[in-house]
Amino acid sequence: MWSFSHIANEMHEWLSKTFNPTLTLIIEMVIAGVAVIGLFAGLGLVLVIMERKVSAWMQIRLGPNRVGPKGMLQSLADTVKLLVKEGLTPDGADKFLFNLAPFIAMIVAMLLMAPIAFARDFQLWDMNIGVLYVSAVSSIMVISILIAGWSSNNKYSLMGAMRSGAQIVSYELSAGLSVLAIVVLTGSLQVSDIIQSQKDGWWIFKGHIPVIIAFVTFIIAVTAETNRAPFDLAEAESELTAGFHTEYSGMKFALFFLAEYVNVFIVCAIGATLFLGGWMPFHIGNWTDFNHVMDYIPSSIWFFGKTFFLIFVIMWFRWTFPRLRIDQLLNLEWKYLLPISMINLVVVTAMAILKWHF
C-alpha cells in the first residue's frame, strides 16, 4: 500500500491527469533529480556516521557522541563546517580542471544511481543494459581522480592519482568478469531481469561455489575500485598524506568524500542486486508458505539491509587490514584475481549451459 512503487505510480497518474505529457516528463525528471541529490546527501550523512561508529566500535572507543542523540547529528555538523570553509585553489594549480574534478566525481556517482532498484518496481531507469551501464560509467571515476591529482600541481597528489589510475583500471577487469558470471547465468543485462531470476533463491545460494568465488572476487575488486582500505593507495595517508585530494579543502573536498561514500553504497547495491537478490526477499525454491511470510517484509528493507550489510563488510576490511603496497596490489589483480575470475567465468558458463544451478 505504502510501497515506493505505489507512491510513484500515484504521483505519475496524478501528474498525467493534471499536465500534458511533456510537462509531466519534465516534472518527473526534476523530482527524480531532486530525489537523487537528496539521497546522495542523505547517504553521505548516514554512511559517514556509520563509518565513525563502526570504527569506534572496533577500536574500543565511543565515537562521536556529542551532537544530537548519541552523536547522530555529527556528520550534519561536519557538513555545515565544510560548507562554510574556504575552498582554496592553489596558485600553481590548473584552476579550471582543479575545480572541475570534484564535480566529475559527484556526477559519476549520481549517474550510477540510475539503474539501481531500490524497492520492488522502484527504479529510475530500468534500461536493458543496466549492468553494462554501471561498469561503463564507474570507469569515468578514474578520470576525475587523475584530473584532481594532476591539476593540483602537487607531487603527492600526482603519485596518488597515478596509483589510483593503475589500480582502478586493473580492478575493473575482475569486477567486470565477476559481474559477467551473473549475467551469464541470468541471460540478461537488465537489472529487473536479474532480480526476477532470483525469485526462487539468490544467486549466491543457487550458483554453487563458482558464484561464491565470483562474489568474493567482486567484493575485493570493488573495494579496490572505490579506493577503500586495504586498497586505499590513492590516499595512503601515511605515505602520501592524502593522495589525490591533498590540496582540496572545504566543499570541494567534501564532494570527493561524499562521492567515495556514495560509490561504496552503489557498488554494494550492485553486489546485493547481483548476488543477494536486490530487493527480492529471502526465498527458498518452492516453499510457497515460507516465501509468502518473507514477502511481508517490505522490499526496500530487504534491499537496504543487504546493501548496508555489504557496506559494513567493506568498513570491516578498512578498520582491520593494513594497506598493500603498489606492486603487491597489482600482483594480486593480475596474477591471482584475474586468472581466477576468467576460469571461474568459463565454469559458470558451462554451468549455465548445462543448467547445473538450481
Partner: protein, 384 residues
Amino acid sequence: MYRQTEIINDASQNPSLGGSGETGDLIINVGPQHPATHGVLHLVITLNGETIKKVEPHLGFIHRSIEKMCESLSYRQFIYVTSRMDYLSSHINNHACALCVEKGLQVEIPPRAQVIRVLMDELTRIASHELWWGAMAMDLGAFTPFFHAFRERESINDIMEETCGARLTMNYIVPGGVMQDLHPNFQNKVKAFMQLYKRKIHEYDELVTGNIIFQNRMKNIGYLSPEDAISYGCSGPTARGSGVSCDIRKIYPYEIYDKLEFDEVLETAGDSFARYMIRIREMQQSIRIIEQLIDNIPEGDFQAKTKAVLKLPKGDFYSRVETARGELGVYIVSEGGTTPYRIKFRSPGFSNLSVLDHIARGSKLGDLVAMMGTLDLVIPDIDR
C-alpha cells in the same frame, strides 16, 4: 627553515655538476609535517617512479640544544631536561644521567632504589613498545591496533602517574636513587596490568602479526646486514633484528640486571619483520623481569644520602643504558664544578636514522614508511 637548494651529489642528476638533470627523477619532501614521520623529521626522497633512489634526512626542526643547556644546569637540574629527549622512555634517560653522575660521586645506591629503577625502566620499555606497535601498524594503514595498544599503555601511564606524578616526562630517577617512594597501590596496579597484558597479548598477533598483508609488507623488506648494523652504529632492536647482540643490559650490566633472568631477544633475518618481532618479544621479556621483581622489592631507603649541591671530580664519565630504542650513552666532562663542562648524549635514534638511506634504497615508497616504523624513530631523541 627550509633548505632552498637540494644538493644532489650524483653529478649525472645535478645540472650544476654537468649532468642533464633530466633523468626523470622525482624529488619529494616527506616532512617536516607528515603523518609517517611521527614528528618533525624532514626527508628529501629522490624517487624513480615509486622506487626510492635516495633518502636524505634533514634534521633540526626540534633541536633544542639540550647539550648546550646542560652546560649551565647543575647536576640535579640537568636530568629534567633529558626527559624531553626520548620522551617515550624518559625514565631510562633519567636513569642514564643518574648513573653517570653517581659514577662521579661514587655513591652506593640503596637496593630498594635499584629495584624501583629497574621496574620503572621495564614498564617504560613496555609502554614505549606499545606505542611503537600502534604507530607502526598505523604507518601501514591499519588504524585499529593503535587504539588497542593505547589500552595497555594507558594502564602503565596510570601507574606512572600515581608514583611519579607525571605521565610522560617523569623526572623520577635522580642521582642517589629515586625522587620519592612508591605509591602504596603500585604493586597491585602492576600486577593488574600484567594480567591485562597477558589476557590481551593474543590480540596483537591476531590483528597484526599474523595478517598476511602485514607479513607481505614486512618480510624481506629493508634488509640490514649485521656488518652494516655495527658499522652504522645501530643499537637496540634495530641491530638485534640483524642478529647483533648489543643489549647493554646483558653485555655491560648496570644496576641489578646481572642478577635477573631474562633473554636477549635476537632475530637473524635482518628485515623489517625481524625488527618487529624483536620488539614484540622484548615486551614479554620485560614482563618476565617485572614478575621477578614485583614481589621482591626490598625495604629500605629509596634514596642515598647525597649533598645538596653535587660536585663531580675532574674527569670524564660515561654511562651506557639500554633504552627502548637502543643504546643511550651519557658522556659528562667535568671540570670539578657544580655544572658539567660538556655533556654529550649519544642517542640511539640518531645512529639508527643514519641507516635509513642505506636500507631504503631500491624499495618502494610505501616500504619506506614501514622501515621508518621498524627503526622506531623518536624525533626529539634524534635532534636533542
